[in-house]
Symmetry: C2
Subunit: 682 residues, 2 copies
Amino acid sequence: MRLLPLIAALSAASLAVPAQAQEPAKAVTVSSPDGSLVVSIGAGNEGHPTWTVSRKGKLLIAPSRLGFLLTDGLPLDRGFAVTGSETATGDETWEQPWGERRFVRSHYNEAVVRFRQAEHRGARLLNIRVRVFDNGLGLRYELPEQPGLKTMNIAEELTEFRLVPKGTAWWIPGGEFNRYEQIYQKTPIDAISTAHTPATMRLDDGTHLAFHEAALVDYSAYWLKRADGQTFRTTLSPSSRGAKVVRDLPFATPWRTIRIADNASGLVENDLELNLNEPNKLGDVSWVQPGRYVGIWWGMISGKWSWATGAQHGATTQRTKQMIDFAKKHKFRGVLVEGWNKGWDGDWFGTGFDYSFTQSTADFDLKAVTDYARKQGVRLIGHHETGGNIAVYEAQLEDAMKLYGQLGVDVVKTGYVADAGGIIAPGDKPGEVRMEWHDGQRQVQHHLKVVQTAAKYRVAVNPHEPVKDTGLRRTYPNWVAREGARGMEYNAWGPFNNPPGHEAALVYTRMLAGPMDFTPGVLSLQGSNGVPMSSTLAKQLGLYLAIYSPIQMAADFPESLEAHPRELAFISQVPTDWAESHLVAGEVGEYAIFARKDRNSADWYVGGVGGAEEHSVTISFDFLEPGKTYTATIYKDAPGATYQTETRHAIAYETRKVRKGDTLELWLAPGGGAAMRLAAGK
Amino acid sequence: MRLLPLIAALSAASLAVPAQAQEPAKAVTVSSPDGSLVVSIGAGNEGHPTWTVSRKGKLLIAPSRLGFLLTDGLPLDRGFAVTGSETATGDETWEQPWGERRFVRSHYNEAVVRFRQAEHRGARLLNIRVRVFDNGLGLRYELPEQPGLKTMNIAEELTEFRLVPKGTAWWIPGGEFNRYEQIYQKTPIDAISTAHTPATMRLDDGTHLAFHEAALVDYSAYWLKRADGQTFRTTLSPSSRGAKVVRDLPFATPWRTIRIADNASGLVENDLELNLNEPNKLGDVSWVQPGRYVGIWWGMISGKWSWATGAQHGATTQRTKQMIDFAKKHKFRGVLVEGWNKGWDGDWFGTGFDYSFTQSTADFDLKAVTDYARKQGVRLIGHHETGGNIAVYEAQLEDAMKLYGQLGVDVVKTGYVADAGGIIAPGDKPGEVRMEWHDGQRQVQHHLKVVQTAAKYRVAVNPHEPVKDTGLRRTYPNWVAREGARGMEYNAWGPFNNPPGHEAALVYTRMLAGPMDFTPGVLSLQGSNGVPMSSTLAKQLGLYLAIYSPIQMAADFPESLEAHPRELAFISQVPTDWAESHLVAGEVGEYAIFARKDRNSADWYVGGVGGAEEHSVTISFDFLEPGKTYTATIYKDAPGATYQTETRHAIAYETRKVRKGDTLELWLAPGGGAAMRLAAGK
């Protein structure tokens, strides 16, 4: 039995279409500033809060349910009526301290719709706010203070998306062993299982969508679960404590966002999630410094050195000083050192009980190293691997950040290497632990605690095995980058190699979330045991323009970098902070060429990555300043190169003058890429 | 970062294939009695318990992980080694008190593999038992008594299925609003999202599979979640209390089962889950009586009468007595009456706070009705709708069952009408509630409690909105049927009509789990407001042979049944208990024709359902006893009939003699069906 007796009371007319497909009664409608995107919110015919989205007159999301399951009370999903609503408009331009572009415009119309549940179902109040931009929308729940509900114990969030038009999706599975470190799948939309966000779709009419969320604070991340057909709903990442989210009222959920654009560049040049986050809460953040870095890391990843102490230990004082010298010589700001601290000598994967974040190994003199670095004008980049054990880490967090602050270590890479569901959080009593997910409420709280603690000591944070990025760098600009995808390191592991189209998928999926510490710049193009990468040499340079991060590594061994002096010269001066960024050519999963303007000069940089197949693209230099002549230094795939043979090392160089209005034909090899600097003339 | 440092320590050779694709080391292998099915279990190269399945020399399930996440301790998923194993063989034939066949053979080889986890990961013991039949397998975890683990707080079960061959699947989504009441999807296997079980697949080589579970006791049901590609894993139904399952050691999980056969009949004529359940624990169950029934129900479902009191109240003393007279006249054993008790007058959907299970409404005299029924040789079938409120129901359960026992009500239909996640269970303190799922551990416990309490009073149970069936009728033979799928009632709701192929999908999916109270026999072929069903008249008779239940309703109004005297005559004598059952013709989702032998006579019955398209099938009477002549009374679709027009009412009758070796051409209309009685001559 299903939904009687309400159905029995309905007229024949109202039975003509299934209940969930009906337009909500008393719907409140709000349009984007240009009128193209229209969202309406109301109560469906069993009192389900319901929303609908159309674009350019076409139905995009059919009437879809909204609400919550609770662990300790009747669901907030039916028996609601609209009691009121308000609308507003916003238009502001704000400045980023660092990023892909300096100025960001936020222009939207919004509505908040007030719902009240029937008396016998609890008479609870629920507000739904929607903010509609020309290139996307955000929807969130707001739980106002109310007599009958002090704390929400949320078992599940029931936000539904009944997507109408058919199309193709690029996605990785949510809730699986390996967190976000998956190869992107390209499937029909109706062959998604449960996806992490951002999940990107191209509808058959060419419209591009990306489902994600903004301002994930004190809440669980959601996975986009497909029910069947093209009906999706939110599934919150689990908690060990019953309710997936516990919040005192009043509070607002993160925004559920959909970027919507006519093409791929409209998806990429889109600040929807940043605009839905709160402004900078840290005040002066001039101490957050973008920059390039090298490190003692690729040696461990590729199996030559070890994190553990012993003959192969990577993090020695001597090796670090050598790396500092190298960094100084080639204009790298930072030197990352992993394995400098105690705790690496056992099987720490998913355990991490032995880690100290303040005590170094006998062969590593932290004070000497940071002193030496300071003298050379280089900064040590700190490292806090936890093995997923945040119980151990949080107990030392304040001391650990304080230590780094004192030593001038102003960026720390953190790590949470554990299987999904294997985060070890403190229990209620000494000796007890609670096992959590990398993207559950507890870990979301943890990450913000780390970022806030680091900020006290003027340290920026770069978590690996993180929770996904939801634009919080706007509010906390010391949250400079994250991993949260398959990075370069997979190319060190032979058979686990990233496929040649991996980065061209990342640009349109993971990278919509925010900066990634991908660690490009392995110019030797090989991993452990000489297994070749699915990359040309030019692509290694293109990665600096395709995969944005304010901190960009050159991951290879110093000797491998110096073996390619022209490429190293490019890497040594490619900016990591931009005034403008534009996707000048690209299709999801196929290729991505950006033009980016240096924030500290009049120079432009153009480049990016290809995919599995070769591509010939025409670059129009429309973005250049009129009347100016630029000297283009071009690095590109040599004719006939392919990642599949030794020709992957074949690169071609060219220097030419370019002006606004010029065009350039650029050939991208299979697994290829390109990069160029456009130095502004007088 | 992913799985270092273990990878770093591996040789180049072992890196040649991804870790998860490697055969486990020290694997224990067990084959089915005929050798066709081979399962091996061992430890993968990071100590993951791992299993592999092949059939007839072809890999069916590539090495797949096994294990658990806990809420309060390190995962039981890595760092394990095999410490020992044992094998055994079983071959027995046992008798069912009622069912599709009287005698069931259980013939298998089994192995139990003993694992121990590394010291620093907890040194925990985990045994995995696999039982391999010629037509399927079961795998379960056994947690032996051990020093370091008294109670398992299971966050998730990590049983993985990396299915290799491609194919087609029939499935409904798991974890969605409407529980199991979904229309079956037919998609490629790699377009499943998250499925309830049984989930049925046909591989491209014709092999048929059905994923399910057996002996779901004191545990959460699992949903078959697709990660990506054809990799699936178990997702346990949620709990409001953190751990999805809480169990003291020692205990065993339910069996994870896969039926495997060369064709559709091998899937259907398959007692895998029954064989994996414990024998009858109730002793003498002669009081569990199969039979046909009618009821005061279709009137409410179709909107003519009401459950609530008032002018339209269905459950009046007078109407019930009339229904008893009708039942007696047409040889129905039972009369179901819904709405006889107090509590229906408000909006009870998902609330159910007002229900009494012992107090009747003013216009319904329970004592008078049951006295009258007894005199007529008819039994009242009880009804306990809870609105999902098991807090209210459990408080009255003993009294309610005792009352029915005293009055000779020996079957009760229970109901849990609430949204998924909306079961209202008692909280820890008075006034508190815990919200649970229809298939979570708490509700699984509830159902068994109801069945056991009912058994004390010699009452059989037929839950609607139940947990899925996993063969527990073997252990508790008073658990006679369930709903747990879209039944006939959807045809009363106009636009929600079941599609014409619905029942031909049910036979190969939901019905693999066990008996369903589908409630066939709506001979008027119309729902509320005269909306026609996607069914011919002959199909209504065929349903009695296609959809097995020991209690079978004739759902239509008495006057509609009597308007079809020949069809009513068939329904009035079709058995509900069989000596043998065979699928003599059928393909998943297309059609299903059964031959079933009456358990109480030498008669056979043949019939079933078609699908959306017409089918011509040849029935071979090979199953008949040699040398005997049978008189076949045949009900079939008239030539040209289709569910799409008024010809749905067109039925043809035929009587002929048949003998073993004869064949019969049978045409099934679109939305059609057929039924025949083969009365054994001397």
